[in-house]
């Protein structure tokens, strides 16, 4: 728009005012979207699962969980191996390489397993969920389901949400187990840390509730947030091919930011007091 044009439109279009207006509109849009997303989550999750619902959930467990297993396990193995290698070179300077098991296990259980699995999950399963639901929307499958008299929130969204909630904690457990084994391979088998001290140091320092439990709570929170974002982005997108590709990108970006931000908050709450 030319300057002349802008002046004619009057004071409300001058830069500072315009930016305040844009800020206000952005805030209102965000609140609106949050409200819609919250209502959406509530409507989808409530309700009694039927036998049919369980069958649909199983199918999504396969799609969301089992199909993500390979990438999560392979990443876990490599991260455990790298942790052991890096940890060893630092610890050996203090003659404390016996503490390797403790270091690997605690870093994995408290931080890396929940966070990295959730990031991988957002990239692998989250984006696929958004694209799939978006495609169903673009091809009018959701509308036609409604016309047949079936609520798509119940039939399409709910099984996917529950599958996500259950899958990610399981994947996180797998990540930890494989990572600790990877640390064992590098630390004990390759670098020659004494096997007994690898395990006993670990067992002496890892608390079942404080570390494993809290790690699982983290991953459950991440599971809810990531699945919710993915499914909502799919349901709420503009049903064109451009809309789908944007929504998929948004899913990955929003999920990653949410995971990292929430991780800080949760860590401060869980481990803040433990010196």
């Amino acid at each position: 728009m030319s300057d002349e044009h802008a002046r004619r439109r009057g004071a409300s279009r001058r830069p500072p005012v315009r930016q305040v207006v844009a800020l206000g509109r952005g805030t209102l849009d965000m609140i609106d979207a949050l409200g819609r997303a919250g209502l959406f989550l509530m409507l989808s999750c409530l309700g009694i699962p039927s036998r049919e619902g369980i069958r649909l959930w199983l199918r999504q467990m396969h799609f969301v969980g089992v199909m993500s297993l390979a990438i999560v396990l392979v990443s876990g193995l490599f991260i455990g191996m790298v942790l052991a290698l890096q940890g060893y070179t630092i610890l050996v300077d203090f003659g404390a390489e016996d503490a390797l098991g403790q270091m690997v296990a605690l870093s994995l259980l408290r931080e890396l397993a929940p966070v990295v699995s959730a990031l991988l999950f957002a990239g692998r399963a989250g984006s696929a969920l958004t694209a799939e639901i978006g495609l169903m929307k673009a091809t009018e499958q959701l509308t036609s389901m409604e016309m047949i008299g079936v609520d798509p929130l119940r039939r399409v969204i709910a099984p996917r949400l529950w599958a996500g909630f259950v899958s990610l904690p399981l994947l996180t457990i797998g990540f930890s187990v494989v990572g600790i084994w990877g640390g064992y391979l590098v630390g004990v088998e390759w670098l020659g840390v004494f096997e007994g001290s690898y395990w006993s140091n670990m067992q002496g320092s890892v608390g079942f509730v404080a570390d494993i439990g809290n790690g699982l709570v983290k991953s459950l929170v991440f599971a809810m947030v990531v699945t919710w974002i993915a499914v909502f982005q799919g349901y709420d997108l503009i049903p064109t091919s451009e809309g789908i590709s944007r929504a998929t990108t948004r899913t990955v970006v929003y999920s990653s930011l949410a995971i990292l931000g929430l991780d800080f908050v949760l860590t401060a709450m869980m481990f803040g007091e433990i010196g």
Partner: protein, 270 residues
């Protein structure tokens, strides 16, 4: 209340954002007939079907189906009413994770407790009616566009609805599938005694099957009548649309400043 009317739309107003799509639309669909709703692209024909199906809510006016005000019904009653309606979507809208057979069986499984053998009989009967009994094991991704729409039609009539809404059934079809679809819509209407609403801008095909035609433009009904009377209508706008003339009351040019000054002032934007 006229008993021969199945759908009665009165004074419908609907806007999306700033844009007014309908401003006082009235139309009546008689029972057992094929009523066509025609109009240029972007006049909200699909929106009208969604309003009739109760998926969108109007700003004013009402839609009555068999005497029931669609938008006043509680959710449960609305879903019950939808059992009596079938809708054929532009893209077919088959569920991509179910086979052709399961797609047609879907409404039966949801709304009835029929035994599996009975469901099978009904599904095969409906598929036979659209000529795709042999394709029941295929997945929707393995079908052509015309076949998708035929399966969708079989699904739409699975529960023997009273009313069936067709959203642009002829768009993007080759001449053969177009002919097949025209034939099918006609037979389904006659054989099952259904009421049909066809939304389309394919004039020749639509006029060949419709009993009564509404032409909408600018959010209102511009003209209505039987195909024969519309064909000889003298109104400029109706003639332009029915005979497909490129220029007329609906201008060829998107509104723009004067061509000559536009070229001579030589600014890229504004």
């Amino acid at each position: 209340m006229n008993d021969s009317l199945l759908v009665d739309v009165e004074g419908l107003h609907f806007s999306r954002g700033e844009k007014e799509i309908f401003r006082g639309l009235d139309l009546q669909v008689p029972r057992g007939k094929i009523t066509a709703i025609m109009g240029p692209s972007g006049t909200g024909k699909t929106t009208l079907l969604k309003l009739i199906g109760g998926q969108l809510y109007p700003d004013a006016g009402r839609v009555r189906i068999a005497g029931e005000d669609v938008h006043r019904l509680p959710r449960r009653a609305l879903f019950r009413l939808r059992r009596r309606m079938g809708m054929l979507f532009q893209s077919g809208a088959l569920f991509s994770d179910l086979s052709v057979y399961e797609n047609v069986a879907f409404p039966l499984r949801v709304h009835t407790d029929l035994p599996e053998a009975m469901i099978r009989d009904i599904v095969l009967m409906k598929l036979e009616a659209v000529g795709l009994r042999g394709a029941r094991a295929l997945m929707p991704s393995e079908l052509s566009g015309g076949m998708l729409r035929r399966v969708a039609l079989a699904r739409a009539i699975a529960l023997d609805p009273e009313l069936i809404l067709y959203d642009e059934p002829f768009v993007g079809q080759d001449p053969i599938s177009m002919g097949v679809l025209v034939q099918l819509i006609k037979t389904v209407n006659q054989a099952l005694g259904l009421t049909a609403v066809v939304v389309s801008h394919d004039i020749k095909e639509t006029l060949s099957i419709a009993d009564y035609v509404y032409v909408i433009s600018d959010g209102r009904v511009m003209a209505h009548g039987t195909p024969a009377t519309l064909d000889v209508d003298d109104d400029d706008r109706v003639r332009q649309f029915i005979h497909g003339e490129p220029d007329g009351p609906v201008p060829f040019h998107y509104p723009a400043p004067d061509y000559f000054t536009d070229i001579m002032t030589g600014r890229a934007s504004s």
